[in-house]
Symmetry: C2
Subunit: 209 residues, 2 copies
């Protein structure tokens, strides 16, 4: 496992992988950085720099070898090792995430969900059990990643319980900023902040400057 | 309007603003970078560097002036100018965004939604009209920002129509990578990529290294 990939590059790995997999499924054997750039909307220079970290050497007039890239991404993203994820809070956002098309290029799987009420989500893939939040400690057994889509006021309490259960990573969709131990990784996706900062950029960093 | 704020700093503006507003509402007049750091989970050094761009000078043993910061953020984020947003695609994710608590610290407002089917979202704030997607050109009049929560296969077609209507910014929640003119800004929030890259970081960049 190559650990020296810069974080900004690593963030683009799943995106690259998805498109390379598509190309491979279409029977393509090579791809230029220009074609990739058009498809994933990342500029060619960035793609060439990123791919140099992957040991992928594009050749002028030939491009990159799809097979090599596919194998690299599969190995790097450990596509054969499915990571099980628990989702806490089956409201609209939680239901959307359960139904979200985590495609074949994604090696994560929501395997269970918890909710305060006894609601059953209208899941399109109906094979995910939804337990009462009271059963968290009993049912979570072994799952190390959780998605938090509960009301903000409940977030810290739930996070504490998850961490007591051995959760190592939390994707936090609530606006609450959580206090967690140093050895637990957290990723905030705050949709309100995302929208507001997008509009700030729209107003203050015009595209044609 | 100060335009020299680095983009990474600008992304944190709405977050800082929300917490400073909370402090102000609690009657606090000053705050240390340590307190802010504990609240927003951004390290103190980053906060001090960010705030230096805001012209906010923290004083040792005193901290930052809450009133000054509040006014700065209000002005910079143009809190008095509400930005109207249209949401396209009222499935679970769309409904979640309509119901999302875009709090008083947020100056964006979803004012209308469109959907292919005649479904009416179970909106908690029931004052948002939901139109048929066929009425897009007729109803969008003047709105410049759109949130895209339609199926990926429909995304490019809808984006083209939005741009013909004069949309200047698109927040794209679909996995589709859209082809848009240079003068339209787009922000991708691909929940599948977010989850997968989070897990890659979890496995490959341990917190305690």
């Amino acid at each position: 496992m190559e650990k020296k990939i810069p974080q900004a590059t690593a963030k683009r790995l799943p995106l690259y992988y998805r498109f390379i997999l598509n190309l491979h499924n279409q029977g393509k054997t090579r791809v230029s950085s220009k074609e990739l750039s058009d498809a994933v909307k990342v500029d060619s220079a960035t793609i060439r720099r990123d791919f140099s970290y992957f040991g992928a050497l594009g050749k002028k007039g030939y491009g990159y070898n799809v097979e090599y890239l596919l194998q690299f991404f599969k190995d790097t993203l450990e596509q054969d090792a499915i990571t099980e994820v628990a989702l806490i809070g089956v409201g609209n956002l939680g239901t959307a995430l359960i139904n979200y098309n985590f495609s074949q290029s994604n090696n994560t799987k929501i395997v269970m969900a918890f909710d305060r009420s006894k609601r059953t989500a209208k899941t399109e893939n109906g094979n995910i059990p939804i337990y009462s939040i009271e059963q968290l400690e009993e049912k979570l057994n072994g799952v190390e990643v959780a998605i938090l889509t509960v009301p903000a006021a409940a977030a810290q309490d739930i996070a504490d319980r998850l961490i007591d259960c051995g959760i190592k990573g939390i994707v936090n969709f609530t606006p609450a900023r959580l206090t967690i131990p140093d050895d637990v990784r957290i990723h905030h996706i705050d949709l309100s902040v995302e929208l507001q900062s997008f509009i700030y950029f729209l107003k203050n960093y015009p595209m044609n400057e």
